[in-house]
């Protein structure tokens, strides 16, 4: 069975060019970048050119890039690192209700430690209430962390607007760009952010590596102690093959951004249109336009998402639900709950996240299979008529 992968927001396959770039660093140029000998120099050079590549892809300077083990660590480092750094000036943080757990759980941890956190709501289409955010700013607000694009419903948040709003107020602005890099333009100066989190495996790079962009002049405290790697902000022997692969993936993502994004958007729009016309009582979750070009999140009335996912999986189609179903009481995801599609739809959401290698043929096949699956499940649903 040919499998169709439509879960690129969960993770992506490593691009062959990326793997090729990584390979020499496992067993040949395997040195520790801190070593003074020739093996060390090879590694140090790879580290430094990777840093340049990642910086270039973001419009940043090389010394503004700190390599981490992934998006979760970048988010933790950004939020805790600047909270601890600025705690003498204030202890108020602003974030949104639809952030990734890497941000939400970190903020909750800081609340336990005496920080205060305001969670800004979103509208029914998943767009941040910037007026609420503005009204939440206080004298002691030190940090605002708002995701660039949401991982479930793909909505793109007005980061630039927020950065203009707080300009000159001495508040550090962080954005979790894990889902946006490689799908829409991400330029740190264009966005006006002080910190930005990235995860390599979301953009056809290897797992276990990521970065935090940290604007020159903005200071944070390290959350891990050890040797002096990454300017002392992220100690531990650098994962050179991972970093090289990540940098290559960033370079490719930047180079192909326009073409990839146009291609994915075409598939996205076609898929939404076909589903809407073929499957009654389906709705698009999130915003019609202000969304990632690769995100299709739809709910189907009276159908439960996990069942739908399993039926599609048995046909070789890999998708994701918006919600984590882990017990009898399947709590709807915090993101779906925030945009409130209504009780008939909230458990029936499915997330299709496209990749640059998906084709229109795949989309057409998936729509066929989806239609069948929805019909089958609706026939079983106690909320639907019929025997």
């Amino acid at each position: 069975m040919k499998r169709i992968y439509l879960d690129h927001s969960a993770t992506t396959h490593v691009d062959t060019r990326v793997l090729e770039a990584m390979l020499p660093y496992f067993s040949e140029k395997f040195g520790n970048a801190s070593s003074l000998h020739s093996f060390g120099l090879e590694a140090a050079e790879a580290l430094s050119s990777s840093r340049e590549q990642v910086a270039a892809a973001l419009g940043a300077e090389p010394q503004e890039i700190i390599f981490t083990s992934g998006g979760t660590e970048s988010d933790n480092m950004a939020i805790k690192g600047s909270a601890y750094m600025c705690s003498s000036r204030g202890r108020h943080i602003i974030t949104s209700v639809i952030e990734h757990p890497a941000v939400l759980r970190t903020c909750e941890q800081l609340e336990k430690e005496g920080f205060e956190v305001t969670y800004v709501p979103v509208d029914n289409e998943g767009i941040l209430d910037t007026q609420f955010l503005e009204d939440s700013i206080r004298e002691d607000t030190i940090l605002i962390s708002i995701m660039h694009a949401n991982n479930e419903i793909g909505t793109v948040q007005p980061i630039k607007e927020i950065s203009e709003l707080i300009e000159g107020r001495g508040i550090v602005l962080h954005t979790d760009a894990v889902q946006s890099v490689g799908k829409i333009p991400v330029d740190v100066n264009e966005l006006g952010v002080d910190m930005l989190s990235i995860s390599s495996h979301k953009l056809h790079g290897p797992k276990g590596v990521g970065a935090l962009y940290l604007r020159s002049g903005v200071n944070i405290l390290p959350i891990v102690q050890g040797g002096g790697h990454e300017r002392g902000l992220r100690p531990g022997t650098e994962n050179i093959p991972g970093i090289v692969g990540f940098a290559k993936a960033m370079a490719i993502a930047r180079e192909q951004l326009e073409a990839d994004s146009r291609h994915m958007q075409r598939l996205r729009d076609s898929m939404v249109e076909k589903v809407r016309s073929r499957i009654p009582y389906s709705r698009l979750n999130g915003h019609e336009i202000k969304r990632l070009p690769n995100n299709v999140n739809m709910s189907f009335r009276h159908v439960e998402g996990e069942s739908l996912l399993m039926l599609l999986d048995m046909q070789g189609v890999a998708v994701s639900t918006g919600s984590a179903c882990s017990s009898k009481s399947q709590k709807a995801s915090h993101v779906l709950t925030a945009i409130d599609p209504g009780v008939d739809y909230i458990h029936g959401s499915l997330r299709f996240t496209l990749g640059r290698e998906n084709t229109m043929e795949e989309i057409d096949l998936v729509v066929d299979l989806l239609e069948e699956a929805v019909i089958k499940l609706r026939r079983m649903s106690p909320f639907e008529e019929g025997n």
Binding site: M314, C325, M380
Partner: protein, 123 residues
């Protein structure tokens, strides 16, 4: 995660539907929680001659519903009432750890249908 057995049951469930003139009906769960099972029974001489279900929920909810209806059909009321979650889970080749609760859900709904029958018939 799910056993092959469970997935087979899920993709090809038995006894899906409504019994229009059911002798007893049970319904558990609510749509806000993401799981609702309805079970219909037909009883003759203390034997469940027909059992049908309609379920909104995850693959485990659907598979256990299907399994419990098959296990109940042809049994006496007493036998059907005593179907345990362990028996259902075992018949499905086991449930993943996080889904064990689920397996109680279908037999409970069946017991509710039996109770409904007994109440209606003053048994």
């Amino acid at each position: 995660m799910y056993s092959r057995k469970l997935l087979e049951e899920f993709t090809d469930p038995k006894n899906v539907g409504v019994i229009e003139d059911a002798d007893g009906v049970g319904q558990l769960g609510n749509p806000a929680d993401g799981d609702v099972i309805t079970i219909y029974i037909k009883v003759r001489d203390g034997i469940l001659t027909d059992v049908k279900f309609k379920t909104f929920g995850c693959a485990a909810a659907i598979a256990t519903s299907s399994m419990v209806t098959q296990m109940a059909k042809g049994r006496t009321i007493e036998e059907a009432r005593r179907i345990t979650k362990e028996e259902v889970a075992e018949a499905l080749g086991g449930l993943p750890p996080g889904k064990m609760d689920c397996s109680n859900f279908a037999p409970d709904t069946l017991r509710m249908a039996i109770e409904d029958y007994q109440n209606k018939h003053n048994i």
